[in-house]
Structures are given as C-alpha cells and as structure tokens.
C-alpha cells in the first residue's frame, strides 16, 4: 500500500477527518447551530473537490488497496450524487436545527459519517468493505432518525429502525458467510469467477437469497419494507428525505454492483426471487399509498414502490438496465428531495405539511411552489417531459427486452395507480379552496425546491448529459459482466 493508493480514498478520508472536526469544533468555537451548517457545507465542498480530483486523476478504473475498493466511474457517479444529495439535505436541515433545541454539530458530523459510509459502499468491490460502509451508514441513520429525542414518535422510529436494521444486517451477514463458504472469497470478481463453475451449489443459492433479503431491507422493498412507513413518518422530515433518497440510492449502488459484478452468472437462480420482490413492491407500495391521508406516510409507500421499479433494472442484467438504475436514482433523488422540501415548506407544527389538506389552495398562496410540487409529482409518476419519464422509460424498456413483459405490465399499470394518489395532492393544491399551511420563510428550503424543480425539468428535457454520464459510468461493470 502506498500513498498513491490512499489517494483513491481521498473523499472518504476528507469526510472522516471533517466529521471528527465537526464534533470537536464546538469545544473551540461554541455551540452556535447556525454556523454548523456552513462548516458542513464547506466540508462537503472539499469532499466534492476530492471526489472530482479522484475521478479526473485516477487512471480509471483502478483498484485500490488490495482490491477492496475501486475508484471506477460507477463509484464516482454515485459519490457525486451522494454529495449533492447530502448537501441538499444539509440545507434542508438547517431550518429545523436553527431553533437550538437539538445540537447541529453532532447532526452534521453524523451526516458526514453517513456520507463517508455511502462512499465506501459505492466504491467497495469486496463484500467486507461494502458491509462496513453499509453499517457505518446504517448506524448513523438510526441515530439521525431519533434526533427529535423529545418526540416519542421519533425515538420510537429510531428504535424500530435499529432493531429491524440489526436483524437485517444479521441476515445479510449470514448470506455473505454462505457465499464465502462456497466461493472461498468475498471479492466480487473472485466470486464471479467461482460462481461460474458452481452450477447447482445450493448453499451458494441460499447465500445469495439471504444477501438479497438483507439488501431488500436497505432499499425498502416488500416484504422487507415493514419499517418504512413508521420510520419515515416518525423521523424528522430532513432525515426522512435523507433515508428515502441518500440511503436508498446507496443501497441500490451496492445492490447493482454486487449483482452485476459478482452474481451475474447466477442470474437464472435468483431472477425469480428478485422478480417477486419487484412485483410485490410495486403492487403493495402503490396500492397501500392510495388511501393514506398523511403525506409522509403516502410518500413512504410510494418510495417502496420506487424501489420496486428500480429493481427492474437489476433484474434485467443488461446494459440498459444498469443504466436505468443509475438514471432512475438520479431523477428520483431530485424529485423526492423536492417533495420532502415541499413538506417542510408547509411547516405548521413540529411535523408539518403532513396532511393532504395542508396543501389546500396552495396554488393561490404560492403559485411557484404549487407548480414545483406538480412537477415533482409528475416526475415521480413518470410523466413526460419530466425527468422521471426518462428513468421509467429505461427501466421498463430494460424489463421488456430482458423478457419480463409481465413485470413491465405491472409496472406501467401500477404507475397509473400511483398517479391516483399523487393527484390527490394536485387536486388539493389547485382545485380546493382552503387555507394552505403557510409557506415558511426559510430561504434554504425554498432554494432547494427551486434547485430540484430546475433539475427535474432540465434532466427531463435535456437528458443527454445524464444518459451519457450513466453510459460511461456503467462501462467497467458491464465489461466485467460480459467477460
């Protein structure tokens, strides 16, 4: 190992040091919550610079540190996406931390460690490195979910999330150990080579099954979704935004990496499982959302459904499928954070903007924000020309070309159902008179709404750069799979 090897991990190193500094800073500078966000943003800026430096400088793809990590374009794509998402969530969080009841410094430090864990996940090519990254992210998420420690709902959410998350980690580890037992290695490439010669090894299959179950918990896919509605509803809204985007995107990064790099030749064995999970997620997520009156809970179910759509890309095992996953994660992140930002914007109480009728008549009091919300919802529903359409277009096409026409039928039908509950919000905003909750005067939250609006429209109308980026990012993995 040399210093050059360590350079590959520069963003992670920056973040871990920065996270520690955020913890120490109040000792020197006092606990001014308002300043914390600024320092946190600075840290993210440095991390972004580091990530770009690695992306530009690394002779891509290079294996670093005994092949545990790789700084390939796939990892870089996700790392940059993570940084952007966390930056947006940092800005969203500033508002709720400003009243000083909860310490901001620890909050942002946890956020930095979570980001660090996500980056390790994105670049891990070895089940151990992926696992430690995942655990780092998970532990930080458990604590963040319970950050409203004076609210029973929040602590309850954290506790449920923690207990169930630990259970799922156990399942995940058990799966990994069975895979190790069968393949003699935890490195994805070695697994891929070993797997190719091991048709009919049932211990391996069980290992993959359990690994898949653990990952499905992290992406909140049915039937491992039970924690989602409670945790999303109970956690502070910026943390919910974090859980439903950053955490989920990171889980999809490793989902795609493990299945495309390591287990692609086992596809005939696991496809039935993943197909079932995808179908169940789309059906249960969308149908259960229809009758929800709490917006956070409705969006929680909708995020379960989105996990189902994205799984189609993993299932397809094709270039276009993997590209679809990347694109979908990108467009989903913006539309979703935008939606959560809108929920925050309509703050009335501690948990605000939560009921559908909080949106009543928003069209009159805040036309721009109502319009933005419509765009986000259309994007989540996959209607052109918003970005969500491009994502769904790739995923559904991948499913059909891989021979899963029945899943594509379910997917398209269920996205029709999803418009049903998304439109409840549109109806509330445009067609109902009522006192909409006041739009809070937080500049940061408003800024995020506008950023997400612009991103959702731009990525939908001018998707070329995104598609090219995704195509470049998947190249090393697809080459590996076709070898």
């Amino acid at each position: 190992m040399t210093w050059a090897d360590l350079l590959f991990l520069l963003p992670e190193i920056v973040l871990s040091i920065g996270g520690c500094l955020l913890l120490l800073a109040p000792v020197i500078g006092g606990r001014n919550n308002g300043v914390a966000a600024k320092w946190s943003m600075l840290l993210l800026l440095v991390a972004t610079a580091a990530a770009i430096y690695v992306a530009a400088g690394a002779g891509i793809p290079s294996l670093a540190l005994g092949t545990l990590f790789v700084a390939d374009p796939f990892a870089v794509f996700f790392k940059l996406l993570f940084v952007v998402v966390i930056a947006m969530i940092t800005l969203l969080s500033a508002e709720f931390l400003e009243d000083g009841r909860y310490s901001a410094w620890e909050y942002y430090s946890l956020m930095a460690f979570a980001l660090c864990g996500m980056m390790f996940m994105a670049s891990g090519t070895h089940l151990i490195s992926i696992y430690v990254g995942l655990e780092l992210l998970s532990l930080a998420s458990y604590i963040l979910a319970g950050y409203y420690k004076n609210e029973t709902r929040s602590t309850e959410a954290a506790m449920k999330y923690f207990v169930l998350g630990a259970t799922s980690s156990g399942i995940l580890l058990y799966g990994m150990s069975l895979i190790y037992g069968a393949c003699g290695s935890l490195h994805l490439e070695a697994i891929s080579q070993a797997v190719a010669t091991m048709a009919g090894n049932q211990a391996l299959i069980i290992g993959v099954m359990l690994l898949g179950a653990g990952l499905c918990f992290k992406v909140a896919a049915v039937p491992f979704h039970v924690w989602t509605p409670d945790v999303y509803t109970g956690a502070p809204t910026p943390v919910t935004a974090f859980l439903s985007t950053a955490s989920k995107v990171a889980a999809f990064a490793i989902f795609a990496r493990i299945f495309y790099m390591g287990l692609h030749s086992l596809e005939p064995d696991w496809n039935s499982i993943i197909a079932t999970v995808a179908a169940l997620s789309m059906i249960v997520g969308n149908l259960a959302a229809v009758t929800q009156t709490n917006v956070k809970r409705m969006l929680a179910y909708s995020s379960i459904a989105h996990a189902g759509y994205a799984l189609l890309g993993v299932l397809a095992m094709s270039e276009i499928g993997l590209q679809g996953v990347l694109i979908y994660m990108l467009v989903y992140a913006f539309a979703n954070i935008g939606t959560w930002a809108m929920v925050m914007l309509l703050r009335r109480r501690e948990y605000a903007g939560e009921n559908v009728d909080d949106f009543d008549g928003l069209h009159k009091s805040a036309p721009l924000y109502a319009f933005a919300m419509v765009v986000f919802l259309l994007s989540l529903g996959g209607i052109p020309p918003t970005a969500g359409f491009i994502g769904k277009y790739y995923l559904f096409a991948a499913a059909i070309s891989a021979g899963y026409a029945w899943l594509a039928v379910i997917a398209v039908l269920m996205s029709a159902v999803s418009m049903f509950y998304y439109f409840r919000l549109v109806v509330a905003m445009y067609l109902k008179d009522g006192a909409a909750a006041d739009v809070i005067p937080s500049r940061q939250v408003r800024f995020i709404v506008i950023v997400c609006l612009i991103a959702t429209l731009t990525l939908g109308i001018l998707p070329e750069r995104m598609i090219r980026g995704a195509a470049r990012s998947i190249a090393p993995i697809v080459n590996l799979a076709s070898r």
């Binding site: 190992m1 540190l65 151990i128 420690k149 090894n201 299959i205």
Partner: protein, 229 residues
C-alpha cells in the same frame, strides 16, 4: 466422495455437543427474565463458540473470543445491569403467540432451506483450513536491469505462518481500511449514545438518577435485589 472438510469421529462429536450447548444457551439468553441470568447464559454461548473456533483450527480467534467477549464485554454487561437497577423483566409469558409464530417461521425456514440444499450439490468449500495459517507475503527486491536503472520486482508467496500472524496480516494489512472504518463506526455509536442519551436540564433530570442512588439503597440490599438471593 471423501470431503476434506467432513468432520469425523471425535471432532464430529465435539462439534455436535458444543454446538447444541451453544444453541440451547442462546435460547435461554432470550427467555430468562432475570438479566443477570441472561448475561451468564450469553457468557456460556460465547465460550461454546470459542471452543468451536479452536476445534476448527482458529486458536487465535478462539482466544480473542474468550478475552474480548467473555472477558471484556460480559463484564461490562453485568456492570450495566447492576448499575441501572434492572430487576427482573415483567412477568409475562415467554411463549407468547408472537414468539410461537417466530418458532414456526424458523422451523418452516429450516425445512425449506433443507429441501433446497437437498435438491442440489453441496460442493466442498474451496477454502481449506490451512488458509487460516497462510498469509500472502510480498517481498520487494531491487533489481538492476540491462539499462542500469533500478526497478522493483515483487515476489508473491504464500507462506505458512502462525495463526495469530495470519489474522494479523489479514486485519492490519489486507483489510486495513475496513478495519479503520470499523473505528469510525464505533465513534458514531459513541456519538449516538451521547446525543440520544444526554438529557436537557429540566424537570426530568431527577428521573435520570438511578433509583438506588436516589434512595440510598445499601450495597447489600442492592446485591440481594439483583441476584434474587
């Protein structure tokens, strides 16, 4: 058909017996009402697992298991149990409908996994136990090439080393970065404990003080309460 990993004779008997004790005591961990009893059964589980490690040829890991878990963590557990004055858990049925469902689920899963395993081959593991005693050693030697420049050549060998050394090599060289990430993980856990556990100074402050301190319970009474003697 002889599998190099197949356990036979004494080692098989040892595995079965120790394994059974481990399973039984871990069930008792969750079904005991007195936390101290639970903790003691947990200790037994750890010890059994340590024996299994040793019997598989991983003496070092077995020793660490005893030292860290049985020695360190268990003591900490007992300490906490004593300190926060948890008496017995409320008396309620251990075998509730939920736990019965759990048992059923476990049995069902066991049966189905067994069916799956039976339907295919259970190929021998690629990894032999010797691996626990080997480590990849990279030696760098400077060589002068034809042009007179010095270049480094690397020779990679798999040497038989001690068990402890193999673990050390794996942990502090091959898996150094994940190891370091694990330290971050502990830091996060600590921050979390403080953030969630810390209370603002308000009316609820008094509740935070353990009962026996507030009530000035004598140590003898306290011990009696906890052990139930």
């Amino acid at each position: 058909m002889t599998d190099p990993l197949m356990l036979t004779g004494v080692s098989l008997a040892l595995f079965v017996i120790v394994g059974a004790i481990a399973v039984a005591s871990s069930i008792l961990v969750v079904s005991m009402r007195n936390p101290v009893h639970s903790a003691l059964f947990l200790l037994l589980t750890f010890l059994c697992v340590a024996i299994l490690f040793v019997s598989m040829g991983a003496e070092f890991v077995g020793a660490v298991q005893v030292l860290v878990y049985a020695g360190g963590i268990m003591v900490l557990f007992l300490f906490v149990v004593m300190l926060i004055n948890v008496k017995a858990l409320p008396k309620e049925k251990v075998f509730t409908a939920t736990s019965m469902m759990g048992v059923l689920m476990g049995v069902l899963l066991f049966i189905i996994l067994a069916i799956i395993l039976a339907s295919g081959t259970w190929a021998p593991a690629v990894n032999a136990p010797e691996n626990l005693r080997t480590a990849v050693v990279v030696k760098t030697t400077p060589v002068v090439d034809a042009g007179g420049a010095t270049i480094q050549t690397e020779t990679v060998t798999r040497d038989v080393v001690g068990n402890a050394e193999a673990v050390g090599m794996a942990l502090y060289r091959d898996y150094l970065v994940p190891f370091e990430v694990a330290s971050l993980f502990l830091l996060v856990a600590m921050v979390g404990a403080i953030v969630i556990g810390k209370r603002e100074l308000d009316a609820s402050e008094e509740e935070a003080i353990p009962e026996f301190i507030a009530k000035k319970v004598s140590d003898e009474d306290r011990l009696k309460e906890v052990t139930g003697a």
